[in-house]
Symmetry: C2
Subunit: 119 residues, 2 copies
């Protein structure tokens, strides 16, 4: 009986570690979280908007990051019927669940900046 419970707890623990690693994998790199945070402030943004607002990113890298985010169901890509063509990117409902991560990162960053100012 306690053995079953141990197994369940072990399985649950393993699952949590896998989930943790998946999250890190999904959001890794210099830009992905920054892009998600940017999209969370604006509902939809065009490629050019992102290029201008995600300071420092180049079109090549932006394009690659957007493709990966789309593949992982975190953003949607919509071609608009405009001339010249524009393309709108938006967070999926699912991606909105990354908000706690982003907020936690900001909170920690603020604390860290205060910490290193102490010296």
């Amino acid at each position: 009986m306690s053995l079953v419970r141990n197994n369940k707890e072990k399985a649950n623990c393993t699952e949590r570690i896998l989930a943790f690693k998946d999250s890190i994998e999904l959001l890794k790199g210099k830009w992905k979280l920054y892009i998600l945070q940017m999209l969370s402030t604006s509902e939809t943004m065009r490629f050019k908007d992102l290029q201008e607002n995600v300071v420092g990113i180049t079109p090549k890298v932006l394009s690659k990051e957007l493709q990966e985010l789309e593949q992982n169901l975190l953003i949607t890509r919509t071609v608009n019927n405009t001339r010249p063509v524009t393309v709108s990117y938006a967070l999926t409902k699912h991606a909105k669940e990354t908000e706690p991560i982003i907020n936690a990162l900001i909170d920690f960053g603020v604390k860290h900046r205060m910490k290193i100012k102490e010296k």
Copy 2:
């Protein structure tokens, strides 16, 4: 008056973006969050404990990551008076503030794994 407020809000916004980027910089890479999470479960761990429990990490990489975490005030390194020498690593009080980040990553990972199982 509203201008001052705008400036304050802008400054605050900039500060939050800097904080966000600092956090990402501090915790980037394949291993750092994993190491922090591991240390959060055990109070202190020796180099060898970490090598065994952070599955897949090599001594070279572990050593480098620990040095960076120490430099950033996230862990402490203590040489123990044992034979052969052992070295204990522990989270700083400050690093314990990363817990919300780790929990948020686990939560999102769990949701993501459910999402992709749907298909």
